[in-house]
Amino acid sequence: MDKVKIIEVKESIFADNNKEADRIREELKKEKTFLLNLMSSPGSGKTTLLMRTIEALKDELRIGVMEADIDSAVDAEKIAATGVRSIQLHTGGMCHLDAGMTEHGLKELGTKDLDLVVLENVGNLVCPAEFDTGAVKNAMILSVPEGHDKPLKYPLIFTVCDVLIINKIDVMPYFDFDLEKVREYAHMRNPNLKIFPVSAKTGEGMDAWTNWLKQQVNEWNNT
């Protein structure tokens, strides 16, 4: 029998995942591909927003989509109908994607000929926030019916995101939703957060969002 040793490790269990994520970003940079990680609660309008975003950008950018939603065969069909390449990721029933799963997805999708890949993450606000997927930018959708106090209830996701898209502003008159309060609460958690109020249904506000995205993609791929 060998002697029992005690080995002090003292590291976050996310450390390896973070390193893997950094490696993915390096690869993407070399390939001139931008990865956007899109997170939200179920039903906030991810698929609708994504379809409009694709419509707006598909003539200028070569786009691919990775769907991680557990039962979104319907979503996958809708995305396929826009004509962009898409795949379904297998999360094995897990509540989040990590860098390893994202890397597999990117390999399967094939990124050499793509400028922009959108990852539709699993629909919740807690677990995906803890795992860096290797995305260049992280975006979150908050829809009006969910209420303006979400940044107080789920602070972590607001600190890891670069962009907050506030969707369904067309129904704002029917909800007690205070846009200024969201801005205030969200900026309290993350002063650099970009905020775009939009309606994926009517198209209102979508230009500001898609222009920002296009600019980010071009910056990443061409510098």
Binding site: V4, I7, V9, I13, N17
Partner: protein
């Protein structure tokens, strides 16, 4: 299924450390878990028992959990206070400009092995 994902990540780190130190059997893994990390202890332990059985290195490893208390810092008055007791509003000055100073960690502390 959040806890299962966490367990897989712990196992990955342990496997790497074991390789670096040429360990062949791990008997104990100590984890530091923040009070507001959102991880449920019983759930984590259940997932652990199930997942380690599938490995050679960790099949008899016990999981020890130490809790790191959650502490919030107030930017307005520079005081710290217990997060779980008072929430996000500072009990000293009623400010909302507060942030978590510690308490959401999931750290691998040490491994007992041979």
């Amino acid at each position: 299924m959040h806890e299962l994902g966490i367990v897989f990540h712990i196992i990955k780190v342990v496997e790497r450390v074991a390789q670096e130190n040429t360990l062949t059997a791990v008997s104990q893994v100590s984890l530091e878990l923040g009070e507001v990390s959102g991880v449920i202890h019983e759930e984590l332990t259940d997932c652990w028992k199930w997942a380690v059985k599938k490995t050679e290195l960790l099949k008899d490893a016990e999981l020890l959990i130490e809790t790191i208390p959650a502490v919030t810092f107030c930017e307005s008055c520079q005081e710290t206070y217990e997060t779980v007791k008072y929430g996000r509003i500072c009990p000293f000055c009623k400010s909302e400009r507060t942030y978590l100073a510690q308490g959401n960690e999931i750290n691998l502390k040490e491994i007992k092995a041979c």
